[in-house]
């Protein structure tokens, strides 16, 4: 502190605080071990309590219930879906097509990968056709005509304990990233 001395404050130099560990005449006779253990007990306890506080703080930030819109829904049983057909049952409510083929069941997003319109399933020509700009997708979700840059996305699909299908929209699988081979992108039945 170069200019500390040139200030006009006349306050006396603060005395060095008494070091905690320093023995004095009064305590010289005492057992050093007990002296240290009290102090260390104290600090250990204090640190533990502080740890408790921070644990509380962290846990406090995770509420026990969430008020989030449900992103998963139960889509009935596998037998509700006919092999080789596209079910549009959940299109309006959840934005999902459920398709069953010879191997199993998968859930396709109804959002066109071009500009986000909702294509229609044309059962006669076996394709999804987007009414906005004419993108076409096969029943697998693969794009084959029109401006859509990539295939439709698939959602996570698993089976509940009672055999019901659960579709989880929080998890998407993109074909171009090779994610369709993920075990939960496809339900084997």
């Amino acid at each position: 502190m170069p200019d500390g001395k040139s200030t006009v404050t006349k306050s006396p130099e603060p005395k060095a605080p008494a070091a905690l560990g320093k023995t004095t005449k009064d305590i010289e006779g005492l057992n050093r071990r007990s002296f240290f253990s009290w102090l260390s007990f104290g600090w250990v306890g204090f640190v533990a309590a502080t740890g408790g506080f921070f644990t509380m703080l962290l846990r406090f930030l995770f509420p026990n219930v969430l008020f989030e819109p449900v992103q998963t829904f139960r889509a009935g049983f596998p037998d509700d879906y006919i092999k080789g057909e596209v079910s549009t049952k959940w299109k309006d409510k959840y934005g999902v097509w459920i398709i069953r083929n010879d191997l199993g069941i998968y859930a396709l997003s109804t959002v066109c990968t071009h500009l986000g319109c909702t294509p229609n399933w044309l059962s006669s020509s076996k394709k999804f056709k987007c009414p906005c700009h004419g993108s076409g997708f096969k029943a697998t979700g693969i794009n084959f005509e029109g401006p859509a840059p990539r295939p439709l996305e698939r959602y996570r699909i698993v089976q509940a304990d009672n055999g019901e299908i659960i579709v989880d929209k929080t998890q998407k699988y993109q074909q171009e990233k090779g994610q369709w081979s993920d075990p939960e992108a496809f339900l084997m039945v």
Binding site: M56, N64, V65
Partner: protein
Amino acid sequence: MSESQERHYNILKLNRVFAISSIIFTAVWLLVFVDDYQRPWKKYQKEFRKLEIEKVRAELSDVSIELESNAEYNALKEELSSSEQKLQNRQNELDDIMNQLIIMEAELYKNNQIYQFAKADLDVLKYDYEKSQVGYKKNTDIEQKYFTLKDSVDKYFFIREQSEISIDQVNDARQKITNEINQINSSLKSLMREQSMMQRKLSKVDPEAMTLANKIGNIVRDLPVLDFIDPYYEVKQVVVNDLEEDLVYMGMPKVDRCMTCHVGIDKKGFEDSPQPYTTHPKLDFMVGASSSHPISEFGCTSCHLGRGRGTGFYSSAHSPNDEETAHRWEEEYDWEPKHYWENPMLPTRYSEAGCYKCHSGNMPLKEAETLSLGLSVFEKSGCYSCHNVARWDDAPKSGPSLYKLASKTYKDWTYKWIMEPRSFRHNTWMPHFFKKGNNSSPKDIVRTEQEVLAMTEYLFTNSESYDINSMNITGDYDRGRILVSSLGCNGCHQIQSTPDPDYDPTIQAIRTEQGPNLIGLGSKVNEDWLVGWLKNPYSYHEGTKMPNLRISDQEAIDIATYLLADKNAEFDDLPTPQVNDKILNEISADFLSQLLRKSQVDEKLSDMSTIEKLNYSGEKLIGHYGCYSCHNISGFEGKKPIGIALNVEGSKLISKLDFGFWHDEIPHTKWDWFYTKINRPETFDLIPNDDGSVSVKELRPLDKSRMPHYGLTEKEIDGLVTLIMGLVKDEIPETKLPEKTPDYLAVANGERFLHTNNCLGCHKIDGEGGAIWPSTAVWLEEIAGSQNSEDMSIVQSFSPPLLNTQGRKAQPEWLLNWFQNISMIRPHLQVRMPSYDFTHEEWNSVISYFQSKDGLALTYENPHNFSTTSDSYIAGQKIQEEGACINCHFYGEKKPLQDAITWAPNLVLTKERLRPEWLIEWFNNPQAVMPGTKMPAPYIPVDEPISDVKEYWGDEVASFIGDTTGMLYGLIDWMWGMEGKEDVSSIVKEHLNNEGYGFISDDEDDEWGDDEW
């Protein structure tokens, strides 16, 4: 300078204090964590988990045992091992293929990548190429590049495809080898599906069925602090965004956490488990995911009320069903009524109140017996007459019209009746206004007597004249008795002289109380009036619900003779007091002083004669007690009812209900207040004493509670309280209400119409109604002995017809016509369909109810075409011949061959009356359409060899062999071709007069048959 001089405290001591306080601090923090971890609901979830484990284990062992004993399963298992053996022999071959595949798949991966990358480049180039065409300068360079690349992309595509094809070929080869084993495996899998599902389920809940890692995870996931990640025991909740919790100034989306403890509420299989684990008792109707009220869309408290966010017994505002439960709860759960929450949970006895929020337009409400009973009682008691409820805005007054009272009855009777209706008719719906707890002191009685005298006087003075022709025919008591029990009077009226100790109020029971209990009429009405009334009720009171039964003069006299023979001597002997001027003055003064000063009142009174005073105070008293609310009384047209409106009574704040001096005697809940008010309306005028007696508050006569006493049973009051608790101001969004399709509305309106007009007092529809049946049996017993009356099929055949499938059955034009012009259909019936004065619209609403109920839209229908020369017609003729329809049915004026007991409608009517489509249904299985009917399915040759059919039934029938419907259409063609007399009533009458029904009876002395009628 020694350092110790600069210290005040001994540092060692401070260290010690520091250590102790730190340790205490740590301990307190631990306590905080323990406190947070202890949640009241956890023990229930733990307990439920045990139940679930037990259940799944049991199910799994059942399934496994079943599987072990399944022959197909065992065979498949053996097959599997043998084909595994076979496969082992070809293992080398398979390994080769697999190695080949790996190489080829690597090839494909590469080729695919080349193609994909080239295509990606091509797409970019395509964009550039397209973009380069914008504007004037065409870039041929890009164009050329684009097309060159396009060619090579096509080439790469082809290469990739080649790889794919060769892989497919190899795969095919592999599949050929493994085909057998795969097939066995897949059929094994499908057999074991249930078992593996159970195993999976068990491994999720049962630690013993878990892997070691999962077992550890199972513990770790529920440790304190870590239990936010994926706890097994957790607060469960349902958020219903469009149903709102009323927070006074705003609605908040409903959040229900009831299932946190009531874990089994939506799971089948816990029906017999104790609370709170029990499955919802009506899972298919409520709560269940596939029911019409799934828990995810309706929550719990939207029906049951309570504090849905609560996860503790007390904090969720449970309400006990009765006092005993309350005591138990106090002991077990430290329960007390939840303060600071306006809508505590409804006790189970009132839980149907929730139904009314959305289904206020229905009657009866399916699956809600208590509420339906409440609605029925509310209507019968005429509660709505004094207490406005929007639903009954247009309903007629519930009591009989008093416009022409003087022509019907006597002053004395009227006085005694008003004073104490139940002393005349034990189960009347007319309530007691007097001799209640708050007006029974001798002083009160003296005044009451004068009040009633005044009202009687007013009623008679203001009664309109009504001409009655008296007839000079004598009636026969017995004939009257038989007529009353056979015409169908018992669908609406009882004749029950003493109270039934086993009376159980139900909608069905109340149906027979549509009209008054016909006892003591001799004390009440005069004969001429009664005869006139029976012949045409509408002429006495246009709005009456009593229909016209097309009763002849003789019949009317007979019935009157029978009914009037019953006199209530005890009632007749009750005294009628004299007019007491002093009291009358007091009464008149009470009313006059509302408008005038004391001196003016005295002056006015001295000017009035006794009769004037009687009439004056009578009018005022009728206004005061609100008699006009239920009865038409001249001088009170258009007056507002005297009670408070109940439209949102269930939402009333409890602070607005005055518990008077009863705050310690009656639980502080809305429903207990309502119950008390209905059960003993004067309660809040009384003061409870310590010894159990009551004293009356100091009240002026006009300040006393006027609410009358109905003498209802506990069950009926519960129904009313349920209804009142359902009258709430909640705004329910359209999405949660039943969809108001035309069909839905038609059915709802129809059901209400049928209820209001008591159609189900006589008819039965889909198992509901038919209140008259027991009295049919009584009548049968009388005329044909117990052998017949105990045979339900005979009782049914002599009761009004079932209305099942009526919409599909009848041709609407005919039905409308018939309603307005009733004629005989079932020749054997004594019961008569009355003639109602309903309008066209009303009848049409009934018809569209029938049609909508059967899913039939009102559309134009093609007439049924047929030709009398067609094969079909001739076949039909043959079938009716063989089926001997003539045994029971009239063919025009041709009488059936059998006795009248089995008679059935005239088939000539059929072509106008019934729909061919329904007839097919009917012929195929009469019992399915009308359970209990005596109609057999017509016999048609189905399984017989065609040659036999040709021989016995003829070529025409044979041409329809294998076509059941075709044959039945033949029958219809034949009926459509029938001509003849439609109205056979005279023939029937003559036959019955001469030959009777032909009951097979022990008692051969059939007096009925001899009667002239």
